[in-house]
Structure formats: structure tokens, C-alpha cells
């Protein structure tokens, strides 16, 4: 009896301390049919870890490529090699600035509020212009911002000697030889066994973020040619991979934050505008009004009010809107606006590219990542493990401060889309990233 009591006390005591903890079952992860020995990533800003309008260390270590690699390392891949900026560097935007951070800004009305501000006076151009290629650890993240599919085979694409505008400064940072290498030749030199590819978004974004004013989008045929040339070469090596569709970039916060009818007028301002515009048949009232834009096709004066569905870009100088009558007395210039016809043009071209991407996935037996649907769902609002996210600027929680690229948490969600596609296509069990461990936006 006494022995029994003693025995149960020991059991109870031991159990209370540790034995009663449920055991972790070892769930095997596996690469399935994928050979992960040389995992290579190809893409644009998303893969490069561009965020907050710039390239900097903290963004790069949280790139979609880096997050994917972390999960692939669990099934045998080597750590990814990226063209890193130094961890001490403030980073760099292509216009010479430092990237954005959230800070306080006082506007022209002397109102101080939270706003994206430059994290330093100027960007770190010296670090940015450094080539980081090392033969002993060749680059495996070919996330190259601004890259067009039409440029994949361009020799010397990373050659600064070609002069500004004639080379890609991001490829210059990683090219094995700035004068002789093409993106494709450097990719193939790594002899990939598997790859994640996301091309097309950057060139569409470049065009859209400029108000669809400069340049144009390459034809679907050219996109097809460039993409299939690269993908064909990769699959000829026996590489397996996943390829992502292109999202509708016009639904990103960069285009959706300022409403077309955000012109709020009091009686006096409405009267002023009416005195200017009534003669050409445009009327204003107290309250919300559509902004004025330049449109050469609109009447004899080439100006009109915006219509629902049209977008004002985040590049618009807000102080000028607030204090200097931009968007009202002085209509927005074309570069700050996407008109309906431009939006249609961009969306149609994305649809055409995506048809090519889907066909390429089928023809080459690749996993298809439906990034188009992913972004659409995200923009409408998702809940991930208790975290609500959507396309609202800053507070939406998934996009970075430039409104065009995702923040680390958003990148983790996108990386998980790739992993899900790999798993489904190649009988693999690669664990997804825990996106709550990747940061959103930091608040002061």
C-alpha cells in the first residue's frame, strides 16, 4: 500500500515535470521528385528583396528568394548566394536616394503626421555600384529589378560602360563579367537542378508606375520568345521548377491609395474652380470631387475630370496637391495618372503574358504559381494566423512603404505560394515559412 502510494507519487511528480508533454511527431519533409542540390531563383524586385523603394541588406535577407531558400535548405539545398549590400549600408534607390522608412513629416499645412521618409540624406551609391560576384560562391539569386524578359540574352546587360539607361545596374552588381555575361549565360553557368522563376512583373510595373507614359510593354510574342528560350534551356539541363504568373499591378497600393475623387472642396474653393472650369462645362460642388487631369484627347483644352476606376499614383507630390492646387487648378500630368485606357492596356498585356506563362508551365511540366490570384486575394484582404492583411497603404501590413513591393511578411506569403506549387507538382513536402516571423512595417 505504502509502496503503491510512493510509486504513484513518483509517477505523478515525473509526469508533472516532463513526461506529460505531448510528443512532437517527426513529420518527414522531403524534396519529392526535385533535386535540390543547385537551387536557383530568377525574377525581379520580389526575388531581389527590393522594398521601401530601394535595395538594402534587411530587404535582401527577406527577399522571396532568401525565404524560399531557407525552406529549401530543410530539404538539402545550399544557402542562396545573393548580391548583398553591406549590412551597415543605408541602401540605395536607382535615383540615388536612401530607401524609405516610417517617420514623421510636416506637410505644407504644417500638419505633422506619420509618413514614409528617407532613412538617410542620400543613398549609398558606392556600395550599390560594387560588383559582388565571387567565383567560389557564384550568385544563385538572379532576382534583378527592372529586368525585362526581352533582355535575358543581352550580352553586357550589366555593363556600366554602356552608359546610364543602357545597362541594368542591378545585374551589374552580380554579373560574372559585366562586359560579356548575359543574365541567361550566368544562370546556366550555375547548372541549376531546380529553379523558381517570376518574370514580367517588373517590366509591367516600370511602365505602370511611370503613368504608362514612357516606353511600352513588349509584345506577347517577344515575351513568349524570351521566356521559353530561358525555360527551355533550364529544362534541357533536367532542372525542375516553378513559374509564377504576373499580378494586376494596378491594384497595388501605389495605385489605389489616393482616390480619384479625393478633391474635397469648401464653398470658396468650389466657387474658384467653377469660375475657371464652368466655361468648358466642368462643374464642382462642396464635398468630394474628381481631380482634374491632363488628357490631350479631352476637348479643346485637353483637360477633364477623372472618372471612377482611374488611378492617381503615389508619386504625385502631395504638398502640391494640398497647397498649390495641383489636381484642381493645375491638372495632374500624365505621369501621375493611369487613365482607363491605360489600365485596360496594362491588364490586357498582363493577361497575354500570363497565358504564355501558363502554357510554358504546361509544356515544360513545371509547377505553376498563381501569383495573380495570390495578390488579388491579398489585396482584398486575408487573415494569416490571426494577422489581417490587405492592400491598404502602410496599415495593410503586407506591402512595403513604396506601395509597389511586398515587405518581408508579404514576401514570406508569396514564397509559401511557390512552396505549395512545388509540393503539389513534385510530390514534395517542403515546409512553408512561418510568416509571423518575418516583419511587417516598423513604426516609430
Amino acid at each position: 500500500m505504502r509502496k503503491g502510494i510512493k510509486f504513484s507519487l513518483i509517477i505523478v511528480g515525473a509526469c508533472a515535470m516532463f513526461a506529460c508533454k505531448p510528443k512532437v511527431e517527426d513529420m518527414e519533409s522531403s524534396a519529392g521528385d526535385i533535386n535540390t542540390s543547385k537551387f536557383v531563383v530568377i525574377g525581379g524586385s520580389d526575388m531581389a528583396g527590393m522594398m521601401d523603394d530601394g535595395l538594402y541588406y534587411d530587404g535582401q535577407i527577406n527577399s522571396v528568394a532568401a525565404i524560399l531558400s531557407t525552406q529549401f535548405e530543410l530539404v538539402g539545398a545550399s544557402p542562396i548566394q545573393q548580391a548583398m549590400m553591406p549590412s551597415s549600408s543605408v541602401g540605395y534607390t536607382i535615383f540615388g536616394n536612401a530607401p524609405l522608412e516610417l517617420g514623421y513629416k510636416t506637410d505644407c499645412l504644417n500638419v505633422t503626421g506619420l509618413s514614409p521618409v528617407r532613412s538617410a540624406q542620400t543613398g549609398d551609391g558606392a556600395s550599390f555600384s560594387m560588383n559582388t560576384y565571387s567565383a567560389s560562391a557564384p550568385i544563385t539569386n538572379f532576382g534583378i529589378p527592372l529586368l525585362s524578359v526581352a533582355q535575358l540574352t543581352t550580352i553586357g546587360l550589366g555593363n556600366p560602360a554602356n552608359g546610364p539607361g543602357n545597362y541594368n545596374p542591378f545585374f551589374a552588381r552580380m554579373a560574372s563579367n559585366q562586359a560579356t555575361a548575359s543574365v541567361k549565360s550566368d544562370i546556366l553557368a550555375t547548372q541549376p537542378t531546380c529553379f523558381a522563376l517570376s518574370l514580367g512583373m517588373d517590366e509591367v510595373m516600370l511602365y505602370a508606375a511611370g503613368g504608362a507614359k514612357n516606353g511600352g510593354l513588349i509584345s506577347t510574342a517577344a515575351f513568349d520568345l524570351g521566356l521559353n528560350d530561358l525555360v527551355g534551356s533550364l529544362t534541357n539541363l533536367g532542372a525542375k521548377g516553378a513559374i509564377a504568373t504576373i499580378p494586376d499591378v494596378t491594384e497595388f497600393p501605389y495605385f489605389t491609395t489616393i482616390p480619384y475623387n479625393g478633391l474635397n472642396l469648401d464653398e470658396e474653393n468650389a466657387a474658384t474652380l467653377n469660375s475657371i472650369y464652368n466655361p468648358i462645362g466642368i462643374y464642382f460642388h462642396v464635398g468630394a470631387n474628381a481631380f482634374m487631369i491632363e488628357d490631350p484627347t479631352a476637348g479643346s483644352f485637353g483637360v477633364r475630370q477623372m472618372v471612377p476606376g482611374e488611378k492617381i499614383l503615389l508619386s504625385v507630390p502631395l504638398d502640391s496637391v494640398k497647397c498649390n492646387k495641383m489636381g484642381s487648378v493645375f491638372p495632374f500630368r500624365d505621369e501621375f495618372v493611369l487613365e482607363l485606357s491605360e489600365i485596360t492596356e496594362i491588364q490586357n498585356q498582363i493577361a497575354g503574358y500570363n497565358d504564355v506563362i501558363r502554357a510554358t508551365a504546361v509544356n515544360n511540366s513545371l509547377a505553376l504559381v498563381d501569383a495573380h490570384t495570390f495578390y488579388q486575394t491579398l489585396n482584398e484582404g486575408i487573415v494569416y494566423n490571426g494577422v489581417s492583411m490587405n492592400a491598404t497603404f502602410v496599415s495593410g501590413g503586407a506591402y512595403s512603404l513604396d506601395g509597389r513591393t511586398l515587405n518581408p511578411r508579404g514576401n514570406a506569403l508569396l514564397a509559401n505560394q511557390f512552396i505549395a506549387a512545388f509540393n503539389a507538382k513534385y510530390n514534395a513536402t517542403i515546409w512553408q515559412a512561418n510568416a509571423t516571423k518575418y516583419r511587417g512595417i516598423k513604426f516609430p
Binding site: P22, N385, G386, W431
Partner: protein
């Protein structure tokens, strides 16, 4: 801005027992028998189990019990395979009962029960993947139940008790806004709650061997009237998350119990209880904040609990006049439907295994001990938070009580 969806603060006692409130850590003898006993007047804990049956106790008595409860939950996230454990402190349910009768011929019996139908803390490890649903929930709850029973004949009695409930809640979770060093903000909701209810019972010795008990415990609405909401967020967001007060409430559901007792012989008695718990009262958990902002809106979270049954079977065997051994088990159906499993209630259908021992030293003084073990496992995707994974919980609850009868 950030919509703060505060998640339920119900029932961590779950981790210790069947569906929360109808906990059966209210009496060591009954605990040893799977939590059955509404038709067996075993001891003063009958104040809780069936107020009518105290009329058939042979003595006046005082009974003090304590059941340290060890619950460990392991959560495994489906997509990432990451795990999060609880490191909750020991639960400390206690009970104290007194029953008084003037003489053997008395028609009226008086009882008082003070017990803790809730009362534990669930705490998840730092930075676990569900941190935005819950990091810590502490629930304290004490029921005070003065009781009277009327012996209508030597076969039948009725009884009733008034329940005053007082308690407190402290809920903590992280908020997905980050300081400049990357740490997340957090929310802490705390408050005191009160409620009232009653407990009525019917008891009958149907034959020499068979007894019947029917009890009804009313719903008790625990209302938090002036809770305190505190937010730790970056300075720039302080005005979005104003500290202030909130109101909320939590229904502790009504329970109908139909029970039978069977005296096989002088040594062996068996008990079977069936509980019907009206959990559907818990359809929504709401938090109304005194001060709302774009980030801090009042929340209404669907809980959609459903009414459930528990089946409890136990036996007591008198080895000697002094020494009794008990054994029991309970099958408890979960009120939590698929899509509504939360970190504070990783509930599942379960079987409780219990055993117990009792020893009477001489005439007046006795000791009872019990041991409860159960394992729960539930895989779900919560519709509100999209937490998707598997919760596994082990519960061990060894208890002891002492009594003095006179």
C-alpha cells in the same frame, strides 16, 4: 488600421476537464469515479453534485479538497510544421463544503459549497505562431453556493442552492504592429466578472439497491462591466489603441444531469451520470470598447458552440470498512465545432480515466485522493484566424481532500 480581433477568453479549465464549467474536480470521491455521483450521496461534495442528496448523508461534515492540475498542449502548424507549446502554471482548483443536519430525524439539511468550476492559466511559449490569437489567458472563478435540502420521505428528497459567482479574467495576445526594433505590440484585457445562478436537485432511493438523481444547474452569465484594456504599441500608434475600459460577458452554460446509482452489494457501488450541457448559449464572444478608433473596433467573434453530452461511469469498492478504491471514466463530447477551435480551447471529444482511494481514520477523520488523466487531440482550421494545425493536450490532475464528519 489594424483590426484588433480579440479572441475568446473562455474556459481553460477545459484543459483540465470536460467542457469547462461542469468540471468534475469538485469532489475527490466523485473524481475517482469518472465524475459521476449525482445519484450517490457520497459526501459533502453532494452540495455541488446534487443538492437534494445531502439529505441522505449519514453525518454532518466538512470537506476540503485541492486538485493540482497539469495540462500541456502542443500545437503543430500544418503549413510550416512549427510547434508551439504551452508552459502554463499548475492549475489550482479547490473545493470546500460543509453539510449540517440537526439530527438523524431532521427534515432539513443545510450545506455550503465554495468551489472553482473555472480557474487556470493557459500560457503559450513566446513567439509561437498563434501569438496574434492568444499568448496567455488566466481565468479565476469561485462559486459560492448556500444550499438547503428537504427530505420528503425516507426515499425522496429535493434540494436547491443559490450560486453567487465571482471571478476575474486576464487575456493577453500580441498585435501585429511592430516597434522599430521589430518586436510586436501586445494587448492585455483584464477585468472582474460576477454572475448569479442556482443549482436544484431531486433524489430518490427507488429500491434498496437503486437510486436516482436529477439535477439542474442554471446558466450563469459572467459579466465583465468595467474591464481594463491596455495596449503596448509604438508611440506613433498610441492614439489608435487608446487604453480604456471594455465590457464583455461569458455564459457558463446550464447543465441537466440524470444519474443512477446501483449498490451491487455491501462492497461495491456503481454510478452513472449523463450530463446535457447547453453550450449553445456561447454563440458569440463580444468585446465592446469604451473608446473605438479605426484600429480598435468592437468585436463580435462567432463561437457557435453546440449542446453536448457527457457520460460518466464509476465505481467504488470497499476493501475494508476503512479503505475504499475507486475507478471511473467519462466520455465527453466537445461543444466546439470544426472551424471554431481556438488556442484557449483546444477542445476535442475525450475520454477521462480516473481512479481514487479513500481512507477513514477511525470515526471522524478521512482522506480521499484521486487521479485523472486524459489526452485530447484536435486538428482544425479556425475560420476567424486561419490558424490551421493540430493541438495535442495531456492533462494530469492528482487531487486530495480531507474531511471531518460528526
Amino acid at each position: 488600421m489594424y483590426k484588433l480581433t480579440i479572441i475568446a477568453f473562455i474556459a481553460t479549465a477545459f484543459s483540465a476537464n470536460a467542457q469547462g464549467y461542469q468540471v468534475n474536480l469538485q469532489g475527490q470521491k466523485q473524481q475517482g469515479m469518472g465524475g459521476a455521483g449525482a445519484a450517490l450521496p457520497l459526501d459533502a461534495a453532494a452540495v455541488f453534485f446534487n443538492p437534494a442528496s445531502i439529505s441522505f448523508l449519514k453525518n454532518s461534515s466538512i470537506n476540503l479538497g485541492f486538485t493540482p492540475t497539469f495540462a500541456n498542449t502542443l500545437y503543430t502548424d500544418k503549413a510550416s510544421n512549427e510547434t508551439g507549446r504551452t508552459n502554463s502554471p499548475m492549475g489550482t482548483p479547490f473545493s470546500a463544503y460543509g453539510v449540517y443536519r440537526k439530527s438523524e430525524e431532521s427534515m432539513f439539511y443545510f450545506g455550503l459549497g465554495v468551489y472553482t468550476p473555472f480557474g487556470s492559466t493557459v500560457q503559450y511559449e513566446d513567439e509561437w505562431i498563434g501569438r496574434f490569437a492568444l499568448t496567455r489567458l488566466q481565468l479565476k472563478n469561485i462559486f459560492i453556493q448556500p444550499t438547503m435540502s428537504f427530505k420528503m420521505s425516507d426515499k425522496v428528497s429535493i434540494g436547491a442552492g443559490f450560486v453567487y459567482s465571482t471571478g476575474s479574467v486576464n487575456l493577453q495576445k500580441d498585435i501585429p504592429v511592430q516597434f522599430s526594433d521589430g518586436t510586436y505590440g501586445s494587448a492585455e484585457l483584464s477585468g472582474k466578472a460576477q454572475g448569479f445562478g442556482y443549482n436544484v436537485g431531486f433524489y430518490m432511493n427507488a429500491t434498496e439497491k437503486i437510486s436516482v438523481g436529477i439535477t439542474y444547474r442554471s446558466q450563469v452569465n459572467m459579466a465583465v462591466k468595467d474591464g481594463k484594456a491596455e495596449f503596448t504599441v509604438p508611440q506613433s500608434l498610441a492614439s489608435n489603441f487608446p487604453n480604456g475600459s471594455f465590457t464583455s460577458s461569458l455564459p457558463l452554460p446550464q447543465v441537466l444531469t440524470i444519474a443512477g446509482g446501483y449498490k451491487v452489494n455491501n462492497q461495491l457501488a456503481l454510478a452513472l451520470d449523463v450530463n446535457y450541457v447547453s453550450w449553445s448559449a456561447y454563440d458569440t464572444l463580444s468585446f465592446d470598447y469604451e473608446q473605438n478608433t479605426a484600429s480598435l473596433v468592437d468585436t463580435r467573434s462567432a463561437r457557435e458552440y453546440k449542446n453536448t453530452f457527457s457520460f460518466r461511469l464509476g465505481g467504488e469498492y470497499k476493501i475494508t470498512e476503512q479503505l475504499q478504491a475507486r475507478l471511473g471514466f467519462a466520455y465527453c463530447l466537445t461543444p466546439v465545432q470544426d472551424g471554431y477551435v481556438t488556442p484557449e480551447t483546444p477542445d476535442a471529444n475525450r475520454i477521462n480515466y480516473t481512479l481514487g482511494l479513500g481512507y477513514l481514520f477511525g470515526e471522524h477523520f478521512g482522506v480521499d485522493a484521486s487521479l485523472l488523466f486524459t489526452h485530447l487531440e484536435r486538428t482544425d482550421r479556425n475560420l476567424e484566424t486561419n490558424l490551421e494545425g493540430t493541438y495535442k493536450t495531456n492533462v494530469l490532475a492528482p487531487g486530495i481532500s480531507v474531511y471531518y464528519q460528526f
